[in-house]
Structures are given as structure tokens and as C-alpha cells.
Amino acid sequence: MADQKKSRLEADIESLEKGIFTGEEGGDERSSPHKDFIASIVVAIFGAFSMYFSLQLGAPESLYTAPGLLPFVTGASLILMAWGLFVKTRRRYGMEEMLKSEGTRAISAYLAETENRRTLLLMTIVGLYVIVLGQMDFDWRFKTSFYTFRFSGFEAISIPVIFVILRFFWRSTLLNCFLVATGIVVFLAVVFRDGFLILLPGAG
């Protein structure tokens, strides 16, 4: 399966040539029997948890209006769907393909690809950005005769973060990255704050 991996674009072109329905978002080209096997287990566990916590909600008046009724049914159907996914994948590829796991080697194979490492790095940077910005709470104002300049936690955190991301991914000069990061963050802040009167995160 892995050696047959296609991009979404390739899959779309192929489906157009063959007249096959691939759906609005496609997806098969990204999956594998082993991934489907893992997904079916995770979904089944999620369904079981949902059922358990739905039962904890009780039935204040009658069973018909119980707050956990639909969540319970949804959890039960998720287990059924997980079973359906398991059966369908087994029929298509066989149990052997489904269980074919590389164990820890799968993680090293994942990390060996530059694109995946870049994704993880991006996730980490964005995660840190969101957490640090959440701690910011200041909004300095510099009044002049024609305009009140403002500098808040949003600009203080966003400019360096966007600078770092640009430096990693765009790989332009330090000055270019800094100018683009500053320019875009200040522009967005002015448009949102002064143009559309929307409060910014980290600005008190």
C-alpha cells in the first residue's frame, strides 16, 4: 500500500480519467490497512467511553428526555462503525496486511521524511505561540496628534513567531523575514483593531 501512495491531485486526475466517485474530500490515497486497523480500535474505545459517561448522566425525569440518551446511542453506533471499518478493511486487504506493523521503525520512518519533521516542528511552534500568547496581557498606547499607536501582547509574540516560521520555511535573509513578519502582523493588527474594531488576543 505504501509504495502505491498517491497525492490528492494524482488521485483526483485518476478518478476523473476512470469516472470513479472519490467524494468531496477523498481520503483513500492517504490511508493504509494498518492505519484503518488502528483507527477502528481508537474509534471503538472512544465509543465505549462515550457510552460509559452517558450512563453516568442519569435520567432526571424519564428515559425519553435523559441527557445521555442520544450520546449513548451515538457511542454505540460508533462501536458498530468501528466494527464496520474493521470488517471492510479486512475484506479488502486481509488480516495480514492490517496487522503488518513496523512497530517503532514506523516512527523512525515517519521522522526520516523531511516533510514530516517540518510538520512536527510547525505544530510545536504554533502550539507554543498559542500558549505564550494566552499568557500575554498588555496594551501600550502612544498618543500622537494624528494617531494613537498601539503595541500589545499580540504584536510582541506574533512578530517573533512569524519571523521564526518564515526563517525555517521560507529561508530568506534575516532582514527579509523580519520585515515581512513585522509588516504583516502590524497590518493585520491595524485592520482588525482599527478597521473592524475587533479586540486582539493578548491585548488586555
Binding site: D12, A39, L78, P201
Partner: protein
């Protein structure tokens, strides 16, 4: 008489120069956004909701309609000129248009795409105006039982349409969305559900940060780490195609417009399904001489794809406005913008927001005319834009995700939610699960939950057979829901 007065009042608002300017801004942003490879219509819609929070009701609606109309067309520009579809629905246009561009007919291919989009929008709008009264009349007959079944059908069909040959993955995505929608205080008893002691969760999970995370941040995580393909700006040449050539394809345009509108009205099936299906049907229906050109640079093929994906806009607004069920993920963003501006969509839209439907019709018409003009004007600037690397553009969208999700309720928890949704969306994408059913389910979940429990209370002392006989609309909907699952499990499964 009353309606005519209402139409004139809404037209006066819509044709105000400020409104035209806002619509122009939306269309321009939409075209540029759609033209950039990797930036989808849904992403544009999801991110720009944040910007619309500071606008008044009519301005916000006009802006979002402009973005929607512009971005659906925008994908065609990069598809023709640099052989990379700006949006996934532009793949058929890319196959045909780029071949024409290599022969020096890129301008004409784009001109045909613009005309096709313009016609497609018109067909979609006309069918929307024609069918809204009938669907609204039908929707007013719906009670709790019918609303519950309709919501469940919406989620189920969205799952089927989004996931292609694995509808079960679409349903799982939808059902996970349902579980997310249950978080918060129960609407009947006020019991806290799945909050695990976290007070912020008692208000429930807002679907706007979810939308921004799933279609904004997930896209960034998918696209930014990829190696950027080199932009190849090319000469455009003549753009406006001769009238005679366009008339030749009028039959194909009309057929594709109807296909696009119908597909748009089905929840979960959006512009991609519309353009792919119309392209496929167009090939089968084309004359022998024209069919030889398909895949090698056919103008008729471009017309089929572009008319269908633009007619999809009108179609997607049909269930969104009349039933409160978004026709696709982009329409879910329109629904979010409408709800944020206190517009109650659904069967009572006419009574609760008199005139708003007329405003939306007029807004779509204005956006269509502006799209036509701006599409021609923006082709050359777009060629310049393609020379900018994706690695430069994508990071600039990250602050918009943060600002947009915060702006909705001025609650920083929503930013965390957006981030988590982005990560979850990326994982689901890697596992081949579609994302649109999840968003649709988060929107429809509360409706389904409340109406199911109400219906069960009403039916407490009745026999099941009397429910089936006394509620024919409900019975028909029940059959449709069962058939949707049957079709996904047995028919489509066997086909593969």
C-alpha cells in the same frame, strides 16, 4: 405587493456604494485566495468569519457572499496558468486549461472559465430563487420528529458524499462531531455533559474555532511543510472568448448548471463533486469531435466544470437558508456568519428575519457581476502572485487563525480549541477521514438531540405504526435515512 416593497428596501441597502465596495473587497480577496494553490474556498470562508465579526449584519453577509463567489472561481486561474489547481474543484479546469495554455490559448481558456463561472452563478441563483418558497413551505410542516431525522440525514449523507468509496469513515467523522456537539449544559435539564469539571466547557464547544482549526490550521500543517513547487508565470494573451464559441456550449452549460445546483443542495457534496460529476457527464454527452479533445484541451470541458462548481454556490444556499443544514463546509461558514449576526436560518427565516433572503439573492447577483469584472482585472496580478512561494504566504495566515477564533466570543479558550482542532484535523486527514461531516455534525448535533427527545416525549403513548402512518413526511425521511446507510454499506461497498 408587500414582498415587492421588501425587495426594493433590500435592494436599496444592497446597492449602497459602501455595500458594493465591501462586496468588491470580498470578491477580490476571494479570487486572490482561491487562486493561491493550497488555499481553499472553505479556508478563506472560515478565516474571514473573524473579520466579519466587526461588521454590521448586512455588511458581514455581503462580504462573505463576495468571498464565497470569488474564491470558487479563483482556483481556475492557477489551474490554467501554472498547472496547479488553486482549489480542488479546479482539477478538471487544470487538466484542460493548462493544455490550452501550453498552446498559447491560456487567456481564452481563462476567459471561458470566467464566462462559465458567471453563467454557473446565474443558474444557481435562479434555481435558488425558484425553489426556496417550495422548500420553505415544506419545511414549515416539519415537527420535532422530522427535524431530528433531517439532521441525522444531513450528517449521514455528508459522510457518504465526503468520503467517496469509504462512507463509513465519513460517518465516523460525523458521529465524532455529534459527540463534540453534546459537550456543555443539556438544553432540557441543564445537566453538564462531558465537561469533566471544566467550567468553560459548560457553554459548549463553538463550531467557529473548530471550523477555523479544521480548515485553516490543518491546511497550513498539510501544505506549509511540503516543498514549494516553482511558480511558472506565463503570458496570458486574449481573454474574452468570441460569443459564437460560447453559444456553442450553451447546452452543456445549462446541464452543468443544473447538476451543480442539485449537488450543492446535498449536504456534504460541494464544488468538487459538482465539477467532477459534470466533467464526467459532459464527456459522455459530448459530440464525437469534441470528445476527442477531452483531456487534450477542451473548451467545453472547462465550461462543464466551471459552470457546475459555481452553480454549486446557489445550490448550497438552498438547504442552508431553508433548513439550517449547510450544503457544504463553505456554506457552514456562511451559516456561522449569519448566526453570529443573529440571523435565524431555517424554516422560520422569512418571519424572524424579514427580507434577509431577498438581500442574499441580491448580494449573490452583485457578487456575480463583480466577480466577472474582477476576474478579468485580476488575472495579470495573479500571475505575479504565483511567483511568491507558498512558504512565504502560509505563515502569514497563522495569526489570522488566532485572531479569527478569538474574535468570535473574545474568549481565549476558543484559540486553544482552534489549535486542538487543527492537530486533530491533521491526524484525521492522515488517516483518510474527511473533515466536513464533523463540522456539519457539530452544527446539527444540538438540533438533533433536542428534537429527538421532544419527539420521544410526544410519541410516549403512541404505537410505532401510528407514528409511521400519521407522519408521512417523517416516514419518507426515515426511509431516506435508512437508504443512505444501505447505499453506503452495501451498494457502494460492493462497487469497489
Amino acid at each position: 405587493m408587500f414582498e415587492l416593497q421588501e425587495v426594493l428596501t433590500q435592494a436599496a441597502i444592497a446597492f449602497h456604494p459602501w455595500m458594493i465596495w465591501i462586496c468588491l473587497l470580498g470578491v477580490t480577496l476571494g479570487i486572490l485566495w482561491g487562486a493561491m494553490p493550497g488555499l481553499s474556498t472553505t479556508m478563506a470562508m472560515a478565516l474571514l468569519i473573524g473579520l466579519s465579526t466587526g461588521m454590521s449584519q448586512h455588511v458581514a453577509i455581503m462580504f462573505m457572499l463576495g468571498v464565497y463567489t470569488g474564491s470558487v472561481f479563483g482556483g481556475a486561474i492557477s489551474a490554467v496558468l501554472i498547472n496547479i489547481p488553486g482549489t480542488p474543484d479546479a482539477v478538471p479546469t487544470m487538466i484542460e486549461g493548462h493544455k490550452l495554455a501550453l498552446r498559447g490559448e491560456g487567456g481564452l481558456a481563462l476567459g471561458t472559465a470566467i464566462m462559465g463561472s458567471f453563467m454557473g452563478n446565474w443558474i444557481g441563483i435562479i434555481l435558488l430563487i425558484t425553489f426556496i418558497p417550495a422548500i420553505l413551505f415544506l419545511a414549515l410542516q416539519f415537527r420535532s420528529w422530522e427535524m431530528f431525522l433531517l439532521s441525522m440525514w444531513g450528517i449521514a449523507i455528508c459522510g457518504s458524499m465526503a468520503a467517496g468509496d469509504m462512507p463509513i469513515k465519513g460517518w465516523i467523522s460525523g458521529w465524532i462531531g455529534l459527540m463534540i456537539s453534546f459537550v456543555g449544559l443539556d438544553i432540557i435539564h441543564g445537566v453538564a455533559r462531558f465537561t469533566f469539571g471544566v467550567r468553560t466547557l459548560e457553554d459548549g464547544i463553538s463550531y467557529i474555532p473548530l471550523l477555523i482549526g479544521l480548515f485553516g490550521l490543518t491546511e497550513i500543517l498539510k501544505v506549509l511543510p511540503q516543498k514549494s513547487p516553482p511558480g511558472i508565470p506565463s503570458e496570458v494573451g486574449r481573454i474574452i472568448p468570441p460569443m459564437k464559441q460560447l453559444m456553442k456550449y450553451s447546452k452543456a452549460a445549462f446541464r452543468s448548471g443544473i447538476i451543480g445546483t442539485i449537488i450543492g443542495a446535498i449536504p456534504g457534496a460541494g464544488a468538487n463533486v459538482a465539477s467532477f460529476l459534470s466533467y464526467d457527464i459532459g464527456r459522455r454527452r459530448a459530440g464525437e469531435e469534441e470528445r476527442q479533445k477531452w483531456g487534450k484541451g477542451s473548451y467545453e470541458a472547462i465550461v462543464c466544470a466551471e459552470v457546475a462548481n459555481n452553480a454549486n454556490i446557489g445550490g448550497s444556499m438552498l438547504p442552508t437558508l431553508t433548513l439550517g443544514i449547510p450544503g457544504n463546509a463553505a456554506a457552514a461558514a456562511i451559516l456561522a456568519a449569519l448566526e453570529m449576526k443573529n440571523v435565524v436560518v431555517g424554516p422560520t427565516i422569512q418571519t424572524e428575519n424579514p427580507g434577509i433572503i431577498f438581500f442574499i439573492y441580491i448580494g449573490l447577483i452583485i457578487a456575480n457581476f463583480l466577480m466577472y469584472g474582477m476576474a478579468i482585472a485580476l488575472i495579470k496580478p495573479c500571475v505575479k502572485l504565483f511567483s511568491l512561494p507558498r512558504t512565504l504566504l502560509m505563515p502569514l495566515i497563522i495569526p489570522i487563525c488566532v485572531m479569527g477564533s478569538f474574535a468570535v466570543a473574545l474568549n481565549y479558550f476558543d484559540v486553544y480549541l482552534m489549535f486542538i482542532a487543527g492537530i486533530v484535523g491533521y491526524i484525521l486527514h492522515r488517516f483518510g477521514f474527511p473533515l466536513a461531516p464533523m463540522v456539519l455534525a457539530v452544527i446539527l448535533g444540538p438540533l438533533a438531540d433536542e428534537n429527538m427527545r421532544r419527539a420521544l416525549l410526544v410519541f410516549e403513548d403512541e404505537h410505532w405504526w401510528s407514528i409511521l402512518i400519521d407522519r408521512p413526511i417523517g416516514t419518507i425521511l426515515l426511509v431516506i435515512v435508512i437508504y443512505t446507510f444501505y447505499d453506503g454499506i452495501f451498494k457502494r461497498g460492493k462497487e469497489q
